[in-house]
Symmetry: C2
Subunit: 430 residues, 2 copies
């Protein structure tokens, strides 16, 4: 068993490419960009360069229209009848099928429901119930906290029958042993942006007979994910980041289709019942993913997500990935041109193939620097203790935005102007 | 121990009142109604008499405006900054405090989060963890199904350490014994409308050392509830019925304040952490109700609820209850005037003090009759196998509406016209 663990690359290193060498070249690149037309779908303030879509994606015009339509044309006018005449009842499946295309899943393998945390609990609890004599759930130190918290709560609920083993990434493969029934990892790390090789880690989990659950929150919509090819058992993910579903928009969950019948729901709500309108006293799980519904979903949030997903229609995710890599490489290149400003250090993997769609720089004065950038209209976010995080959503971030944002970062850091910046607003939620 | 169980009345029988004896008298009563002004807050089609607000409350103008404001003025314009500058982060507490006033709770005892099903799981799971050597959760046959399903899932998850005992209402007090750690009941029954005496049943639970959890889904906003006076430990409830929060709007949960520190969350998500933005690996529950947050909430749904709750500002719930009783009594009186139409039978308690704000009639052709009523613009709903359910929300249902709806019901049943009605749309969700 490997004691040293080299993180495998997510994908082959991309062919060498020439990055724009001037702002004018960025403009040219934007004009040629196959994705450029999608930017018009977003309600973006031209005075702002928004590099925090990995935390909260921006409003699209279709999301706004869809929500307004549900408010006035459905809820307001047709009231209770809307459940049927406007297909509210099937929204969780319909939206799941749309997301499936973005993560290499079959349409019937994905359901939109609840929050990422709740969905993680659902699947991890089901796996715990099916653990046999195995005791161990493995995750990594510094995984997105809610993943660890949910697993801690679950193992406590098991009364010690299951235990959570959290180790640094370099000891991960070693920790996945024959006592492990579930491995829970986030594909693209929320801080560093480093990504796992889903296929290799899933294979390791399967080699010892464990289930593999991927959190795709920082991947979906920004880079191709192929759950089917990876063989993953379970996945969950967020829709308010690169999918632009709206603040706190409902999350999704995935169960590989051959497991559908054997994975029993734990949060057994009436919407997951085989015949919810029979109103029988005894729970009988629906077939397929429907059993993983629980209570009544917040439909205005579903409407927003439905509208937002329109921006992904016919999108080639390889195009999105190619552009995302160019944007992140360009950003790093300009920030470091002639040497990074003093005190600023790249804290993401340098090799773009090992990174998602955001880039992180570390600086001891990171918080103040981010405030100064926000005051200049460049919105990224700060993550304690010292990280400046910049997300590059390929659907609406332009090459010129990257150029300007990188210049702004250099200027702020080199000038030291952040020390007297009036920044006061703290960008909060991942 | 009582083997026979008389359901105690919810409140003293109201003073004798004279019901309107003609449609003209209904109009007069509407003109004098202290609540009449609130109807203008709702976006109601004048051609429709909406008696299904106990399933999905109608849109208010403030809810629509609030959602549109969040779409364009907050999410659309201020993006990630909205978490702080628009107070998104505190919405679950702010809305909880507003609901607290309607259910006799302290502002800090109520939180808005997730769905009723999920919130019930949270509290019942916490109670299960604190059960000591007791094994029994007691509920009643025919309780709203999701309550029973959630408890079934929970007891299965406990591996048989806890068991769910479900008995008919008349054997309930007997079933609440020294082996019971939790009693879960719905205050107003979703079918019959019959209500429990919260104080008496809670006292019974406490007498044997059990915790009491009330589901207030069919009570909140329609009649006064006094959790504080009842001594209840826990409560959950729905906001898309009488509170008009919007389809699937988020639910609430209540924990009596002296239990706040000892009730440990089980669905341990990052939003319930004591310092979520520390992003530490170890879960440490927040103080107060905040610990019962889990993932990121769907904020557009919260905005809708926030707008909807404006209709309850300064509302005297005793006024609402008085009107609700008059509406339901009037409805029953007109339907039964000179004897109920053949085959139609009141299936709610006749005594209004023992009933919530909806009334149910049974008829073998109930489904077709409800379709015929809907075709005539009178919207109630059907519950298998034979129940016609009519909700009377005192904030927007008028005395004339009741008159006309009751006349329509009589006419449809007596004429037999429902046998040839073209009704095709089935009102679905409770």
């Amino acid at each position: 068993m490997a004691v040293k663990h080299e993180i495998p690359t997510y994908e082959p290193a991309p062919a060498e490419r020439r990055l724009p060498a001037s702002r004018a070249e960025c403009e040219t690149r934007d004009a040629q960009d196959a994705l450029a037309g999608r930017r018009a779908k977003f309600a973006l303030d031209p005075a702002v360069i928004y590099l925090d879509g990995n935390s909260l994606g921006p409003l699209t015009h279709t999301a706004a229209r869809r929500v307004e339509g549900m408010l006035h044309g459905e809820w307001g006018r047709d009231l209770i009848k809307s459940w049927n005449v406007h297909g509210w009842i099937d929204l969780p499946k319909r939206l799941g099928a749309k997301i499936a295309r973005l993560i290499g899943a079959k349409p019937e393998e994905v359901l939109v429901a609840d929050s990422t945390s709740i969905n993680l609990f659902k699947l991890a609890a089901a796996a715990t119930r099916g653990r046999g004599t195995r005791r161990r759930i493995v995750s990594e130190t510094g995984n997105f906290p809610t993943d660890l918290y949910v697993l801690q709560g679950l193992t406590q609920l098991s009364g010690g029958a299951a235990e959570l083993v959290v180790v640094p990434r370099e000891r991960l493969l070693e920790a996945i042993n024959e006592d492990t029934f579930l491995v829970v990892l986030t594909h693209v790390h929320y801080k560093s942006g480093e990504c796992f090789d889903m296929k290799a880690v899933t294979a390791r989990a399967h080699a010892v007979g464990a289930r593999m659950l991927w959190d795709l929150s920082h991947s979906v919509g920004a880079l191709p994910v192929d759950l089917g090819a990876s063989g993953a058992d379970f996945a969950v993910g967020c829709t308010y980041k690169y999918l632009n579903g709206g603040p706190g928009s409902p999350a999704f969950l995935y169960v590989r289709s051959d497991l559908h019948a054997s994975v029993e729901p734990v949060l057994t709500g009436w919407m997951g019942h085989d015949a919810p309108f029979e109103f029988s006293d005894d729970y009988r799980p629906a077939t397929g993913m429907t059993r993983h519904r629980c209570g009544t979903p917040s439909l205005l949030a579903f409407a927003s997500l439905e509208g937002a997903l329109e921006a992904f229609d016919d999108l080639d995710l390889d195009d999105a990935r190619r552009k995302s890599i160019e944007l992140t490489e360009l950003f790093v290149a300009i920030v470091e041109a002639g040497g990074a400003p003093a005190g600023l250090r790249l804290a993401s993997p340098r090799e773009s193939a090992r990174r998602g769609s955001h880039v992180v720089f570390a600086h001891a004065d990171g918080y103040a620097i981010m405030q100064a950038l926000i005051a200049r209209g460049v919105i990224g976010d700060f993550r304690a203790p010292n990280l400046l995080r910049f997300g590059f959503a390929p659907l609406y971030v332009r090459y010129v935005d990257v150029w300007d944002a990188a210049e702004a970062l250099r200027t702020v850091v080199e000038s030291g102007s952040y020390r007297t910046s009036p920044g006061s607003v703290r960008a909060a939620v991942t």
